[in-house]
């Protein structure tokens, strides 16, 4: 009964171990890559051409979001301000700051400043800022506390399931539209009251966030 199996079979247990190790490694790497917030770019904080601080402008100085993102109530895009908007103030303040040179250049030449995009919905998603703002979804729900960020980073995953969490239970997030740009506001009476108030808003304003494909994909 010799030579029933070829000699190479002797190596098989080792081979199986190596393969299992490789497969296990791949799975681990895959999960580490695809199933973590970093895949969804949470924490993404690229270096911007101008070191603009939201903590200073929106936090310390208390500028309203809409001061610069002026079309957020009208358009689907929350516009990044034009250089001219910056210059409205910065032709008085910090007129010669070298950090603001790109802004001055852009204003003079008309060439845009290449701001790096942080919150990026895929091309096939048609997110609309105006409707969320108008119906009481605060900036903070998706962007986090921008008024405390020196360098803006992506705070939430912004995946489809993130969207649906709110579209399926808007009462948890909805607030008086007057308060949407108040990033520090939280229901003073706590979570339970938020849901109760939220339910009232959902009912009174006939809030029916779309949960079907056509709401966001066209």
């Amino acid at each position: 009964m010799s030579n029933l199996f070829p000699r190479s079979v002797n190596k098989l247990p080792l081979q199986i171990l190596v393969y299992l190790f490789l497969v296990g490694g791949l799975v681990t790497a895959g999960i580490a890559y695809y199933a973590t917030p970093s895949y969804a770019n949470v924490g993404y904080a690229p270096v911007q051409p101008v070191p603009f601080s939201h903590a200073l402008h929106a936090g310390q100085l208390g500028l309203d979001c809409r001061q610069c993102h002026s079309n957020v109530e009208k358009s689907g895009h929350a516009n990044v301000p034009t250089a001219q908007t910056c210059m409205n103030c910065h032709n008085q303040i910090k007129v010669d700051s070298p950090l603001l040179a790109p802004v001055r250049d852009s204003y003079e030449s008309g060439d845009p400043i290449p701001w790096v995009k942080i919150h990026q919905a895929p091309d096939y998603v048609y997110f609309n800022h105006s409707v969320h703002v108008a119906r009481g979804v605060s900036c903070v729900s998706c962007h986090g506390k921008v008024n405390e960020m020196d360098v803006v980073h992506q705070d939430k995953s912004l995946t489809m399931s993130f969207c649906l969490d709110c579209h399926r239970a808007p009462e948890k997030f909805i607030r008086d539209p007057k308060l949407v740009t108040n990033l520090d506001w939280k229901n003073p009476k706590g979570e339970a009251d938020q849901v109760e108030q939220g339910k009232k808003f959902v009912h009174d304003w006939n809030v029916k966030p779309p949960q079907s494909c056509s709401g966001c994909h066209r």
């Binding site: 895009h77 516009n79 301000p81 001219q84 008309g110 290449p114 790096v116 091309d123 119906r135 494909c213």
Partner: protein
């Protein structure tokens, strides 16, 4: 227990009876056709072509290799930038479109438009509703014009002697021409321009003539869209043109007049005409249309009585009519030799006379002046003038014609020829040799949009700006002055025609904006800037239409009848054919040949795309012997055991006129005059660009400038060569069921007797109450209000009828639905192109259309019905004859948005699902391309992206990863940013313009804010097809609101669902078509021919065997009711 249901076996009558047929193949029920209609997609559509298996594996290996490279390099999301403006732009909000009023100039007319721009990039054209006669409607050509702006083949630089030059060099050139001419009062200078109705250009031309008195100003248009002024001169002694008021006409006779398409102002005519046809309730009046024509036009398809007659016999026909209506001795001898049933003319004349003041005779513009003269006299006798036709004063034409120009050139008197627009090297008639003429001129300067046939002969080419890049002004057909505003700076430094003329003139003001400003403000007076701004805002200069004039008939005798032609009506035969040249429905006279949207759009009647052909009548086809033996109906296609979908293997024929011969494929077109062959103009361009080059044949060389519309004495010889025509007519047949439902307006079994006629036939009549508690017929008997109410209630109701399918939840605020009125739809294709522009629908090219892969989301089905076929001998020899004179019914079909959509249940990945407002949505990202949905769609309205149409040129799709990927930047600019651009391997279809719905809903919600007012008001949302429709046949809206326009339309008695018996509850429904024939006419039918066919198919069951019918309905009852 598992139950198995089988469709009841068709009755004998159904098997042997008659049916609608869409193509000659269907009529003859060839094996190939039968096999084809069984398929989800046409045969070959799913097959790979041009690549064999080995090659396929090579390509796949290559793509995997490339995929690996991709994985290794770009894992994470690429860095993207937000580029905000440096300086804020007035009125511009990123993400929101802006609309500007402008106009598209077309020959003597213009179409007022609103151009949609996204951050300065025009993407879509809508009509300007401020201009009431067009009411915001446009046509396919206007819709497609935006693609022309981004044509990668347009000229990008001006050239002199082939070398690129700067804008300054061009100015120098123009100034030099001007100064050289001014020293000699313009001697040696000649202009050849196309027609224009621009007041500013007219002023500049007047200046030019004053300054350069010896210069020649000639104008040439290849096709005529207005009646010859000479006719009006002869009859009224004034320079006037007719403006038809179809809305006031109860009886209309169209003599060789395609007033839906080829006449100036046809948009208004179509709109007005259908106003008299919009029968919304019993006792609403309906107009009657008689059409006499040599070709088959959309007017003919709409006609209540249609007479086939050669164009050259129209004079005799109109004379015979004049004899009946006006009387006297003058006309009878003109009508001699006319081969038309005199009863037809008698009854038609009597009907027109009986409606004095409300009847109208319209003659096609291509007809000679004397025919128009006769028609004017008839209209006067009918009391039409001032009622159904107005005459407006137009300035007398002072341009020389091409004959005069040719004489000057031949005499050597022209040293510099400036060609403004047009394309004379391509579209000059055959009796002029333009190339030879141009050779005799030392300096030829061409101002044009692309380096076309004419530019190739010129010494210098000046780049023209697109109308969306230009300042200008123009007039609509009724004379209303409308602005042409730039939406974007000229992409390639193009000049406007106004600037070219002003520079040659040496004017101090050459800026076209100022030129237009001066023209308009001179007209308006008052606060110049304010009135000019108002003009630009409205897009219309109020009160600027041509003035209506009182006219009186001149006495008989001053007429222009050519005695040589008076003698006899020429008899036509196989050896003495008449050739009729037509303006193409898509590429016009050839100017839009490089527009892929238009090229791919099937011609409304022939359904040919990407080609033109010699259209031949069935009888001529037979006499030419191009019908293979044994298959008398297979005329232009040989069917040798196999059927190749979409490919019409046409025989090539040689047509010879006046010694000039052209070879072209022949297409048999039922409904033509027997010995008239039709040659559509505008194809066979050699220097149009990538799209238009070599598409079709150029028939201009056969033309004679003295007889531009038609010519007699042609010979047609068939050869044995073949050519594949891309014909979409056999695609996606619905197997000849009760699809288009028609009735007569009055008479037996008519709309008046039974307004709910559409529900009283068809399979639904046999089925139990699939509409809930009421059967279709019972439902149609309710009042309109009740029906609207019930429909609104049902739109959110979940379970009703019996269905295997799970009903989706319809709990949205709105429930969307659409109604299409087949009675007003003229089948003009405007919706097809508008949909393409709005929804980023790709162009696939001729090869792919041949394979049945066209992507249009909405299609127009064209059905022929003959009514003469006898069920007893179906398949017999008589029925193998191609009917020479069928009726045509047209039906637009897009996704019907079934409530119980069969496509959804078969999708393995939930890529197509219902939303809460009744939309059958398509999530492209989920789609894995199984195509099961298309397989299960009863309407065949789903389209599959077989290739990356948006990334690959149509001639490179088979190269896979080896081919060039990506489109020129210019082409990408036309895309609508609100609609996803689909990739290879996904299914797509009509979405009811979901982007427009969502935008309207969002706008309403923003407005609502902290309130519950989220319901979008009726009429806010217009789908692209609805917006463009010149006849308002399409109504879209919320069916949950019983007072909405769409609910009212659906509540009309003639409402029916396509294949309604399937109980899939489509949200799009149709309104049955009506015909209004005259009982006194010899060709009167008490039922439309399609109904005759339907009845003869089913009545044999009714009459021959009542039992059988009963059995059928019993099994139907089992089928529909037995499931519970």
């Amino acid at each position: 227990m598992k139950r198995k249901f089988e469709h009841p076996a068709p009755s004998e009558g159904e098997l042997t009876g008659l049916r609608y047929w869409r193509s000659l193949d269907e009529l003859s029920a060839t094996e190939g056709f039968k096999a084809q209609i069984e398929r989800e997609f046409p045969e070959g559509a799913s097959n790979m072509e041009g690549v064999d298996r080995r090659q396929f594996f090579k390509l796949m290996a290559a793509s995997f290799a490339l995929g690996g490279v991709g994985l290794a390099t770009g894992c994470r999301r690429p860095e993207e930038h937000i580029l905000a403006y440096g300086k804020s732009v007035e009125n511009t909000i990123p993400g929101l479109p802006l609309y500007f009023a402008s106009a598209m100039p077309v020959r003597n007319g213009a179409v007022p438009i609103l151009a949609e721009t996204h951050q300065g990039r025009p993407t879509k054209i809508e009509g300007n509703p401020t201009y009431a006669p067009y009411g915001g409607a446009t046509n396919a050509i206007v819709q497609a014009s935006v693609l022309g702006l981004y044509d990668p083949d347009r000229a990008t630089t001006s050239t002199i002697k082939g070398a690129a030059v700067t804008a300054a060099d061009v100015q120098d050139l123009l100034t030099r021409i001007g100064t050289a001419a001014s020293s000699s009062e313009g001697a040696g200078l000649a202009f050849l321009a196309d027609q224009s109705s621009s007041p500013t250009r007219a002023a500049l031309v007047a200046k030019l003539k004053a300054k350069f008195s010896k210069a020649v100003w000639a104008e040439y248009e290849a096709v005529q869209d207005e009646p010859p002024v000479a006719a009006a001169q002869a009859v009224f002694g004034k320079s006037v043109k007719p403006l038809y008021q179809f809305a006031k006409a109860k009886r209309i006779l169209a003599v060789d007049a395609d007033f839906f398409h080829s006449e100036a102002g046809s948009l208004q005519f179509a709109r007005d005409f259908t106003k008299g046809r919009r029968v919304t309730k019993k006792d609403d009046p309906m107009n009657r249309l008689y059409a006499v024509e040599s070709i088959f036009t959309l007017v003919g398809s709409m006609a209540d009585h249609r007479l086939r007659l050669s164009s050259c016999h129209m004079r005799a026909f109109v004379a015979a009519l004049a004899d009946k209506i006006i009387g006297g001795s003058t006309y009878a001898n003109l009508a001699e030799g006319l081969d038309v049933d005199p009863k037809w003319i008698d009854a038609c004349a009597a009907d027109l006379v009986a409606h004095k003041g409300e009847s109208l005779v319209v003659v096609g513009s291509h007809q000679p002046a004397d025919v128009h003269e006769l028609a004017y006299r008839i209209n006067a006798a009918l009391g039409a003038i001032g009622s159904t036709v107005d005459f407006v004063a137009i300035s007398e034409k002072s341009a020389a014609d091409i004959g005069v120009l040719a004489k000057y050139i031949e005499g050597g008197a022209v040293k510099t020829l400036v060609i403004l627009g047009g394309n004379p090297a391509y579209d000059f008639p055959g009796n002029f040799d333009f190339a030879a003429l141009v050779k005799r001129v030392p300096e030829v300067v061409r101002y044009g949009y692309s380096i076309d046939e004419t530019s190739q002969l010129a010494n210098a080419h000046i780049v023209a700006a697109h109308y969306l890049e230009s300042w200008g002004d123009t007039r609509t057909a009724d004379g209303t002055i409308v602005p042409v505003q730039p939406m974007i700076l000229p992409l390639f430094d193009g000049l406007t025609e106004l600037e070219v003329l002003a520079r040659i003139l040496g004017e101090t003001i050459t800026d076209p904006h100022t030129l237009v400003y001066n023209t308009i403000t001179a007209l308006t007076g008052g606060d110049a800037q304010k009135s000019f701004n108002q003009f630009l805002h409205d897009g219309v200069l109020a009160g600027s239409a041509y003035e209506k004039v009182e006219i009186s008939l001149k006495a008989q005798g001053g007429g222009m009848y050519d005695p040589a032609l008076l003698t006899k009506t020429i008899k036509l035969s196989k050896d003495n054919l008449e050739v009729r040249f037509t303006t193409d429905a898509k590429v016009d006279d050839g100017r839009f040949a490089n527009n892929g949207w238009l090229q791919e759009c099937p011609e409304p009647i022939t359904k040919l795309a990407w080609d033109n052909a010699i259209l031949v009548s069935p009888r001529l086809g037979k006499e030419l012997g191009i019908s293979p033996k044994g298959w008398s109906q297979q005329v232009t296609r040989i069917e040798t055991a196999e059927f190749v979908q979409g490919k019409e293997m046409a025989f090539i024929g040689e047509v010879t006129v006046n010694g000039r011969t052209i070879k072209a494929p022949m297409h048999i077109q039922p409904g033509l005059a027997n010995y008239t062959i039709v040659l559509p103009l505008g194809y066979g361009r050699t220097a149009a660009g990538h799209v238009g080059n070599g598409v079709g044949r150029n028939f201009y060389p056969l033309r004679d400038s003295n007889h531009p519309g038609f010519i007699i004495g042609a010979k047609l010889v068939a050869t044995s060569e073949r050519h594949a025509l891309a014909n979409t007519q056999e695609h996606w047949s619905m197997e000849g069921r009760d699809i288009v439902r028609e009735a007569n307006y009055e008479g037996p079994n008519s709309y008046q007797e039974n307004p709910g006629f559409a529900s009283s036939f068809g399979l639904e009549t046999h089925s139990p109450a699939i509409y809930g508690d009421l059967t279709a017929e019972e439902f149609s008997k309710l009042s309109q209000e009740e029906r609207a109410k019930i429909t609104a209630e049902r739109s959110t109701q979940k379970e009703r009828g019996n269905s295997l399918y799970k009903t989706p939840t319809f709990d949205g605020v709105h429930q969307w639905g659409m109604s299409i009125d087949l009675n007003t739809c003229i089948g003009c294709n405007a919706c097809v192109v508008a949909c393409q522009a709005e929804n980023n629908i790709p162009i696939v090219g001729k090869q792919q259309v041949l394979a049945g892969r066209e992507m249009h989301w909405i299609r127009l089905d064209r059905y022929y019905s003959d009514g003469r076929l006898s069920p007893e001998t179906f398949g017999g020899d008589i029925n193998k004859e191609i009917p020479e004179d069928p009726q045509v019914s047209l039906q637009p079909v897009a996704c019907q948005h079934c409530e119980l959509a069969p496509c959804e249940v078969v999708c393995p990945v939930n890529a197509t699902v219902h939303d809460e407002e009744g939309l059958n949505t398509m999530a492209y990202n989920r789609c894995i391309g199984t195509r099961y949905c298309a397989n299960n769609c009863p309407y065949k309205v789903r389209r599959f992206n077989f290739f990356d149409w948006n990334k690959r040129q149509t001639d490179e799709v088979y190269l896979g990863p080896l081919g060039h990927s990506g489109m020129p930047e210019l082409v990408k600019m036309v895309k609508n940013p609100d609609v996803t651009v689909r990739m290879r391997g996904v299914m797509e279809k009509c979405t009811y313009c979901v982007q427009r719905i969502q935008q309207a809903k969002i706008k309403q919600k923003v407005k609502a804010g902290a309130s519950a007012d989220v319901k979008v008001p009726d009429g806010t949302i217009k789908t692209a097809c609805q917006q463009v429709c010149p006849v308002e046949a399409i109504v879209f809206g919320n069916v949950n609101d019983e007072h909405s326009a769409v609910s009212k339309a659906k509540a009309r008695e003639q409402d029916y669902a396509l294949l309604g018996y399937l109980n899939i509850r489509p949200r799009t429904t149709y309104l049955g078509k009506l015909r209004n024939p005259n009982p006194a006419m010899p060709d009167y039918e008490d039922l439309p021919l399609s109904r005759k066919e339907y009845n003869s198919k089913n009545n044999s069951a009714h009459e021959g065997g009542k039992k059988e019918h009963g059995a059928a309905s019993l099994s139907n009852a089992k089928l529909f009711g037995g499931l519970s």
